[in-house]
Structures are given as structure tokens and as C-alpha cells.
């Protein structure tokens, strides 16, 4: 089952809450846990950035550039809201399944 891109947004935010990551490493981290196509991640990052949940900064590594993504205050707030809603939804769905 593939994740919808809304939920993927929060997976990305949750990852970035722990540490700042650059594109490639972030893709690896997300892919470790859930099965997503590599194509979908950049559009997700772009969307989050446009909403103001992420900011970027550049750091050079071995002569080339790495663009790090950092979660903003709004991003953290959004993630916390989502976690509450998610838990409610989970309970409801589970009550049907059991």
C-alpha cells in the first residue's frame, strides 16, 4: 500500500524534527520505513517549503553543495496537530477493524 502524499508530508516533517537532513539522506531515511517512489519526495519537500513548514540552508561537503532542510516553528506546530488527529483517526479505524 502506498502512502498518500499528505501523510508523506508528515513523515518528512517527523524525520526533520529529529535532525536537519539533505535531500538524498532524507529519501533514504523515509524509504527505510515506508515504500515510496523516489519521484514523489521532491514535490513534497517543495510543497512544505511553500507552506512555510521548512526552510533550507546550504552546506558544502567535499567540494560540492548539500542543501539541508530544517523544520520551522510552524512546521512543528502542524506536526503536533497532525499527531493528535492521527491518533483519533487510528482509534476510530481500529474500533471498526476489531
Amino acid at each position: 500500500m502506498q502512502l498518500t502524499s499528505d501523510i508523506l508530508e508528515f513523515c518528512v516533517l517527523a524525520n526533520l524534527k529529529k535532525e536537519d537532513l539533505y535531500g538524498y539522506l532524507l529519501t533514504q531515511k523515509v524509504q527505510e520505513k515506508v515504500n515510496i517512489s523516489e519521484s514523489t519526495l521532491y514535490p513534497v519537500l517543495r510543497r512544505l517549503q511553500k507552506k512555510g513548514f521548512l526552510i533550507t540552508y546550504d552546506k558544502s561537503f567535499q567540494g560540492r553543495n548539500r542543501r539541508y532542510y530544517k523544520i520551522t516553528e510552524e512546521g512543528i506546530k502542524e506536526l503536533e496537530d497532525f499527531i493528535i488527529k492521527w491518533n483519533e483517526l487510528k482509534k476510530k479505524v481500529e474500533s471498526f477493524l476489531n
Partner: protein, 336 residues
């Protein structure tokens, strides 16, 4: 798909995105492939699909990718063949009708002239052979014919003109809109690249002391951001007369200025910078480049002629001009 192919496709698909945003996307994937240690000709991972990525990005920008793409591809074809064909066929039609009209005149003209035949032989004798009244009669017939024919010819020519205009409007999908005539001037801090999606009118680009844009017209939008200038004519009106002729005059200061034109109908008059890449996809009209040193010009489909001094051409020039499809005239001169 190799890294190079992937990036080329992405670049092409995201053409309608603002330049800076497109660069951001390409940068991300460049970085990504660097991390994977992929070379230009190495294959990218299978599940990376440039079409899917660009679609998602464009959807998000509320750009109806498909519609726009269809519209533009039709336009591209029209530019090379579509415009040339109706114009040529209408020119032939005009000549054909002119010939028919002139044939109509020949018969009364003959009737009228033939009585003067005798005059040349012997003036006095001719009076015996020709009735004076008859000459006047045919002269009157001829004059009346002209009087009747004139409005008819006028009507026919007007009809042809309307037909011509109708086709042009159909082809270019022009709507007749109420318009406001604007006259303004704007100054920029930086100007590095000019990007023209579509422009109908006269474009003048000059080197000067201050980056500025002077605009007179009614249906062209422009937007300037971080040294990138985007120009696009939107509401196109077919009534192009002196009053609502679009004129944009750009003045730049940098030695290095890029110019990318997708479609332009009209005149382009440019003082070229020292280092530049100028690319023109489709153009109908006249181009005049005033160059500083030398020029390297590449062209693909040109109906028209290029006027240039051979000495100005240099394979290693810092000024590269690439013209894909063009109907019109190119004039290249030295500036000083």
C-alpha cells in the same frame, strides 16, 4: 535513462515554470545524483520519472500543464508553416482577383480605344470614318463602367482584407478585448536574463547606464525578479495600429545578458552585450543586431535573408545567436 537525459527532460517539461524555480528543481536532482555518484552518462534509478515529477510540480503551481502545452505546440507549428501558408495563399488570391478585375476592364477599354486607331493615320480623314458621337458614347460607357466598378472593387478588396484578418484571428486565437493603453517606465537594480514567452510588437534593447524598462502598449505583462525579466503578451488584439502598437524598450548595464525568446511577432532592435547567448525559437518580423565585436550565428529554418558582413562572423565569438524558426529579415551591423 541517463542522468543527462533525465535533466534534459525535466528542464524541458518545466519550461513554463519561472526560471529561478526551475533552477531550484534541477539543482535538487543534480545534488541527488552527486550523492549517488552518478556520472553524466550513468543511468538514474528506475523509479525516478521526470515526467511524473514535473507533472506534480506543475499541478501544484496551478498551471494546467496539458492545456498550455497543447496550445503552444499548435502555435509552434503555426509559426513556421501555419502563418506562411495562409499569408502566401492570400497573396496569390489577391493577385488572382486583381487579374480578373483587370480583365473586366479590357473589353470596354478596347471598345473605347479602337476609334482612336484612325486618328493616328490621318486626323481629318478619321472624322469621315468615325462618328464623333460614337467616340463620346464609348468614352461615357468606359467612365460609367469605372464608376460602377470602383465600389465593387473596393468591396472585393475589403472582403479579402476581412477574410485575411479573420484567418489571422482564428490562427492566433485573438480575442477582441477592451483595452487600456499604458505608458510606464520602471528601473531595476539588476538585469541578467530576459525571457520572452510571447511578444507582439516592437522590442528595443539598448546598452546604457541604468537598467530600465519603458513600456507603451496594452496587452503585455512583464515581471522582474532577482535580475530575471519575464515578458509575455496576454490579451492580444488584432487591431494593431499606431496607437496600440506594443513597444518595449529595455536598457541594460551588464556586459553579460542572456536573452531567450520563445515567440515574437514584430521588430527586434538590439544592441548586443559582450557576452551573451541569444536564442529565438520562432519569430515573424525583422531583427536588427548592433554588435560590438563579432558574432556567431546559428540558424535552422529561415524564410528571408540575413544581411551581414562576413568579417563579423567568428566561430569563437562570445556572442552566440541561435535562431530556430524565422520568417523575415536579419540585419547585423557593427555598433561603432
Amino acid at each position: 535513462m541517463t542522468r543527462k537525459e533525465f535533466l534534459t527532460i525535466l528542464d524541458k517539461e518545466l519550461k513554463i515554470l519561472p526560471y529561478e524555480e526551475k533552477i531550484e528543481v534541477l539543482k535538487y536532482y543534480e545534488e541527488y545524483f552527486d550523492e549517488l555518484n552518478l556520472d553524466k552518462n550513468d543511468d538514474v534509478p528506475n523509479n525516478l520519472d521526470p515526467y511524473k515529477i514535473s507533472r506534480e510540480i506543475l499541478n501544484e503551481n496551478n498551471i494546467k500543464n496539458l492545456n498550455k502545452k497543447n496550445k503552444f505546440s499548435i502555435f509552434d507549428n503555426i509559426m513556421t508553416l501555419g502563418i506562411a501558408f495562409p499569408i502566401l495563399s492570400i497573396i496569390f488570391l489577391v493577385f488572382f482577383i486583381m487579374i480578373i478585375i483587370s480583365l473586366l476592364f479590357i473589353y470596354p477599354l478596347i471598345l473605347f480605344i479602337r476609334y482612336f486607331m484612325y486618328l493616328s493615320i490621318d486626323f481629318y480623314e478619321s472624322f469621315d470614318k468615325v462618328n464623333n458621337l460614337e467616340i463620346i458614347k464609348y468614352l461615357l460607357i468606359f467612365l460609367i463602367f469605372i464608376l460602377i466598378a470602383y465600389p465593387i472593387i473596393k468591396f472585393i478588396l475589403k472582403f479579402i482584407f476581412r477574410l485575411f484578418r479573420y484567418f489571422i484571428i482564428k490562427i492566433l486565437n485573438i480575442k477582441n478585448v477592451e483595452e487600456q493603453y499604458v505608458n510606464k517606465i520602471e528601473y531595476f537594480e539588476d538585469l541578467r536574463k530576459i525571457n520572452i514567452d510571447l511578444f507582439v510588437g516592437k522590442l528595443i534593447i539598448k546598452k546604457g547606464n541604468e537598467n530600465s524598462l519603458k513600456y507603451t502598449g496594452s496587452y503585455t505583462n512583464y515581471e522582474q525578479k532577482n535580475g530575471f525579466l519575464n515578458i509575455c503578451s496576454v490579451k492580444r488584439n488584432y487591431k494593431i495600429n499606431r496607437k496600440n502598437y506594443e513597444v518595449i524598450e529595455i536598457i541594460y548595464t551588464n556586459d553579460n545578458l542572456l536573452l531567450e525568446i520563445d515567440k515574437i511577432v514584430g521588430n527586434l532592435d538590439m544592441e548586443t552585450p559582450k557576452y551573451s547567448n541569444i536564442s529565438i525559437m520562432s519569430m515573424v518580423g525583422k531583427v536588427e543586431f548592433k554588435i560590438e565585436n563579432d558574432i556567431f550565428i546559428l540558424n535552422k529554418n529561415i524564410i528571408g535573408k540575413i544581411k551581414m558582413d562576413n568579417q563579423l562572423f567568428n566561430n569563437n565569438s562570445n556572442l552566440i545567436v541561435d535562431i530556430k524558426n524565422m520568417i523575415g529579415k536579419i540585419d547585423i551591423k557593427k555598433r561603432y
